[in-house]
Symmetry: C2
DNA sequence: ACCACATTTTACAACGTTGCATCTACCGCC
DNA sequence: GGCGGTAGATGCAACGTTGTAAAATGTGGT
């Protein structure tokens, strides 16, 4: 079967420990010895047994990434970025899908699989701040997302409130006053929906525009179809609006499609902005203005912090919270009122 | 730190082997003993050490999935389906991205990481049939995709030619005669592009429609922007067409956007069909007719076959090729000529 | 030639688990 | 009462690696 240290040692005429030393770049090895070992390794096409190595060292070289669903573009693009980041640090990524289900999220935190990872990047969706004690786990954990703040672990996330306020301000600056919002979650305070709604309200308030509950479209999920049906409801209600802020791009694209079917022109009749800056937003008709929440930066930072924690000798360092920079991306779907 | 078999054994007052037997459902254990062990396991919150287990057993419980990029929706949806399938078999999935690069694909086949997986689902994009010898590896490997046929391994894929012919026939049955095709690859015979182009030509031929090279839009990649620019070129060339077959949905959505900008009506002026049946195709404007190539079935079958190979004692069984069923999905973007 | 000291190599024991072989106790049967 | 057989429990070795510590070898100075 596969060659082991013993085989290499036999061929090179040294002890297995010497082979191990060569592989691990131990400095004090005679060049001639090293060369013989290297040749034997090449001859046998030796590859270290990773199970044995991690049994011995307690490290696996794998980090976990838990997300709700890869078929949600935001998480697919996040996973892509995380894998590329991890690669640069010679780490592999094991992806788990939770479906956004609280129970599965909690289970996953203490699943035997945590054993095969050195640490976990955890994008919670079903859990909330009340559950934050579950995050007190015995391995390095970096939280992503906006469901839990002030928890016991490091946390890398986006500036939801600020970014949503900036998006709304962008619409206001174009002379829009009746700004519908799509994707709100009934009663939510913390969480992407709650925080972005808050940014929206702050922007309105700052501009002296009264908040009109009739302009809020609620959805449970953020799939395209939810955006579409929220918009259908909004149109059916007869409420007047001249702009839409969709709480993510996917929702917004669904809503746009319904508006266009209904004969509304975007951006002339309804200036529309989304959130996430998916690749897709560049190719819709019209192209979608949106907020880039700093996804690449989030992935990169989260991986870096997780690896720091893994390497750390003293795990008692206080939890850090990192907020990525965001950016409003103006495209065709938003334009000033020409009236 | 974490509890081991020894700890459990001490608490339960039995040998570690008995604990191991309980965990592995060895039949001959006195119920009272079993109960004591189970209680001790619960008390210590014991979880087996997976590194030790795989060192001993040679199995990891992990399968690898190599895809070009997760940010391509097709692969994100495929990965989602594979993970869900694997979950049902109590397996974990380790995802690797190759970027569709031939060299990286080849490297990955003999990477030390193969060590941490019991087998690999491999979606090749950069390699071609000339490289098929690289697939002769010492571990269970199931090939996905359409770059290599007749290779030495099991292969699960879609009926590209038939499905593309069916898509084209769908357009022809609606009275379309000038059918543009977008996303072809110069000179490719094998591969999604080459095979689907062949299906297109077969359909034309069967209908007695001459093949017009001016109607072929070439692209290197299949991102949205490639579809958009191919369509721009097509429009700039002045060639006349009354239908478009996009070789995948993403391309097609990019092309649709350019057509609409140019004032073409879909489906009236240009009946349009894609390929992949992405979630997104249900929410574009108009909704996109497309081909469902059987992605779920592919994921499920591939996982099943891989696990069979892993469990197999005699690995000499001849390679199998499985083709999933496809289905033309009619939506708003295709309609009969009303002349 | 011998010592002090640095370089190079090695032996051994673990990491936590499971396969194999073995051992004891007990059961039913002639 | 002795024997074969099965249920139930165990001890030992091994999977392939690396940390520790110590042994072997080499170098230079006296």
């Amino acid at each position: 079967m596969a060659a082991t240290l013993h085989d290499v040692a036999r061929i090179a005429g040294v002890s297995i420990k010497t082979v191990s030393n060569v592989i691990n770049d131990y400095p004090h090895i005679r060049p001639s010895t090293k060369q013989r070992v290297v040749e034997a390794i090449a001859e046998l096409d030796y590859q270290p047994n990773l199970s044995a190595r991690s049994l011995r060292s307690g490290r696996t070289g794998v980090i976990g990434l838990a997300v709700p669903e890869l078929s949600l573009s935001y998480f697919a693009e996040l996973a892509d970025a995380v894998i590329r980041s991890a690669e640069r640090h010679h780490m592999t990524v094991l992806i788990e899908q939770t479906g956004g289900d609280r129970r599965r999220e909690i289970e996953l935190l203490s699943s035997p699989r945590r054993q095969m990872t050195d640490g976990l990047l955890f994008s919670a969706l079903g859990m909330d701040s009340d559950d934050s004690e579950y995050l007190r786990v015995g391995y390095p954990l970096v939280l992503l997302g906006e469901r839990i703040f002030g928890g016991p672990t490091d946390h890398v996330t986006m500036r939801n409130v600020d970014a949503a306020r900036a998006a709304t301000e962008h619409l206001i600056s174009q002379g829009r006053r009746r700004i519908a919002i799509i994707g709100a979650h009934e009663g939510e305070i913390i969480g992407s929906a709650g925080l972005r709604l808050r940014g929206y309200r702050e922007a309105l308030e700052a501009a002296g525009i009264p908040f009109d509950p009739a302009l809020v479209g609620y959805t449970t999920l953020w799939h395209r179809s939810n955006g579409a049906s929220a918009m259908r409801d909004l149109l059916a209600s007869g409420v007047r609006f001249d702009a839409v802020f969709g709480l993510n791009d996917t929702l917004t694209l669904g809503a746009m499609r319904v508006m266009q079917e209904a004969g509304l022109r975007i951006p002339e009749d309804v200036s529309t902005i989304g959130f996430d800056d998916l690749d897709e937003a560049q190719y819709s008709l019209p192209t979608l203005s949106t907020v880039d929440p700093g996804r690449e930066e989030i992935a990169e930072t989260a991986v870096r912090i997780l690896l720091e924690r893994i390497a750390e000798t003293n795990p008692a360092a206080p939890p850090r919270e990192v907020l990525a920079d965001f950016r409003v991306v103006e495209r065709e779907s938003t334009v000033s009122l020409t009236a």
